[in-house]
């Protein structure tokens, strides 16, 4: 494995960036073309696909009745999982989720949690005994860079269109009705990931950019009470950020997340 090709590519990417350009023609803060489709599956209670450039992700939502955690007996459980399918990249292998898939799922999960997006108390069926477990399964179908943002978006859009089954409790037996209500969602966190290459930040990095980046920083924003709040953040990769780069990344993410939230609220694209 020679490092010659990446280092040439890196120099090329950095040279272009000096004049604010990228190898796929975008500006440094431009996202790739985005296509969101929701309710793409009948058997899932919610679903969405996201195409971000050629990156392709699907998220599906399933409900299951289960036990609450002992320390929060009156709240349902959100479980976010990610599978890096071997068909999505020659670098992915079959098997249980590796550290990349686990990190991704936990970043997505933390943004939802930080934003208090889902009212988990409304997922309680019998206090202390039975609650809804909401499974959010993210499947990476084509890996062309920036899986975090695509996955966060697909999960968000799938949850937004999710219909929750109603239940009836008779003598401690739960009966699932054939009626549905929307999932109790309020705040919409939007995650923006930037790659750092040299001293430049690249919004929505492509696979080429990720291969040569020093590190990445993901920042999720949510609007609450008319004000933008950071609700999750994660640096990834073995590089460093200066405090100035961090602040710059947060500011760019704030702007881009607002743009993206508008698109989501307007129903995609």
């Amino acid at each position: 494995m020679s490092n010659i090709v990446p280092s040439i590519k890196k120099r090329h990417i950095m040279a272009l960036a000096e004049s604010g350009k990228r190898i796929d023609g975008r500006g440094l803060t431009d996202m790739r073309k985005l296509e969101i489709r929701t309710n793409v599956l009948d058997k899932a209670e919610g679903s969405a696909t996201v195409k971000l450039g050629d990156t392709y992700v699907i998220a599906g939502i399933k409900f299951e009745i289960g036990d609450p955690f002992p320390d929060i007996p009156n709240e349902g459980v959100i479980s976010v999982n990610a599978e890096f399918l071997p068909l999505a990249s020659p670098t992915f292998e079959s098997g249980p989720p590796d550290e990349r898939a686990i990190e991704l799922a936990r970043i997505v999960d933390r943004a939802f949690r930080g934003a208090k997006m889902i009212n988990t108390q409304r997922l309680c069926i019998i206090p202390g005994k039975k609650v809804w477990i909401v499974w959010v399964d993210i499947f990476i179908l084509d890996h062309c860079g920036n899986l975090i943002d695509a996955s966060a978006l697909a999960s968000l859009c799938a949850l937004m269109t999710t219909k929750m089954p109603r239940t009836e409790v008779i003598e401690n037996e739960v009966k699932v009705l054939n009626e549905y209500v929307p999932l109790p969602i309020s705040n919409l966190p939007i995650t923006i990931t930037l790659a750092k290459i040299g001293d430049k930040l690249f919004v929505d990095p492509s696979l080429d950019e990720e291969e040569v980046m020093d590190c990445r920083i993901s920042v999720a924003f949510v609007e609450k009470n008319g004000q933008e709040h950071i609700c999750a953040m994660q640096k990834g990769g073995p590089g460093i950020l200066t405090p100035e780069e961090l602040m710059r990344a947060v500011e760019i993410a704030k702007v881009k997340s607002q743009e993206l939230r508008k698109i989501v609220l307007s129903g995609g694209e």
Binding site: I58, K62, F63, L85, P86, S94, F139
Partner: protein
């Protein structure tokens, strides 16, 4: 489990099909960027994505054999593809189906042409409504073609079943659940040879022969759709190239 009739008195099924009628099938080729070949199929409500990598260097290396390529297949169901969430870990059923799917496709591939390599076929069932193995095999042969892998023929596959004492073509979930026999087959249509046959349930020899003939007829319909899709796909590509 109410006693709902699956076949009406005028011989129509719950979704309005005749006994020998297949569901709407739509193939799409070249849907993924990274995979060397890919195909997507909607087969009634069944939705499956197939990606193919290879021929490529065997990994791990000890898999390689000196006189041919190794074909590997993984059939996997998404947790959200079924009514009750399925664990993403491969079940015994998925492991068996991965094996029979591989053995249904391998006879069509000129494996001797690529010694010491592997061809990997990955199928993801995004939604399951019966016939997932048949849909996987049929879509995978298109993905193999998309990957430019030389093949003796496409492999076309469909299932027949016995439902309320009648032999019917291409069962969906509800029919399958209450049916009394199920028989998926796969053939190479232009060679008239079988690459997959499985069966369970109860069929007399006469029913079996009838079922087999109906399945062959169904495979020919699938084959027609596969070829149409391939032709228009390669036409598009050609047109694209001419416009360069």
């Amino acid at each position: 489990m109410g006693i709902r009739k699956l076949i009406s008195e005028d011989g129509l099924r719950i979704d309005g099909r005749r006994l020998d009628e297949i569901r709407p099938i739509r193939f799409k080729i070249g849907v993924l960027k990274n995979a060397d070949g890919s195909a997507y199929v909607e087969w009634g409500k069944t939705k499956i994505l197939v990606g193919v990598y290879g021929p490529r260097e065997a990994h791990p290396k000890h898999l390689a054999v000196p006189d041919r390529c190794i074909v590997q297949a993984r059939y996997h169901m998404a947790p959200f593809s079924v009514e009750e969430r399925k664990s993403p870990a491969p079940s015994r059923r998925e492991i068996e189906l991965s094996k029979v799917i591989r053995e249904a496709l391998e006879p069509a591939i000129f494996v001797e042409m690529f010694p010491r390599t592997t061809i990997d076929i990955f199928a993801e069932v995004l939604q399951a409504d019966g016939s997932t193995r048949c849909a996987t095999i049929s879509a995978a042969s298109l993905a193999l073609a998309d990957a430019g892998i030389p093949m003796r023929d496409l492999v076309s596959s469909i299932a027949v079943a016995k439902v309320e004492d009648q032999i019917v073509l291409d069962v969906k979930d509800e029919e399958d659940k209450h049916g009394s026999a199920d028989m998926p087959i796969a053939i190479m249509p232009s060679k008239n040879v079988i690459t997959l046959i499985q069966m369970d349930g109860m069929l007399t020899y006469e029913e079996f022969k009838k079922a087999f003939e109906l399945a062959k007829k169904g495979c020919m319909e699938v084959y027609k759709k596969q070829r149409e899709t391939l032709e228009s796909y390669f036409k598009e590509i050609k047109v694209g190239l001419e416009n360069v």
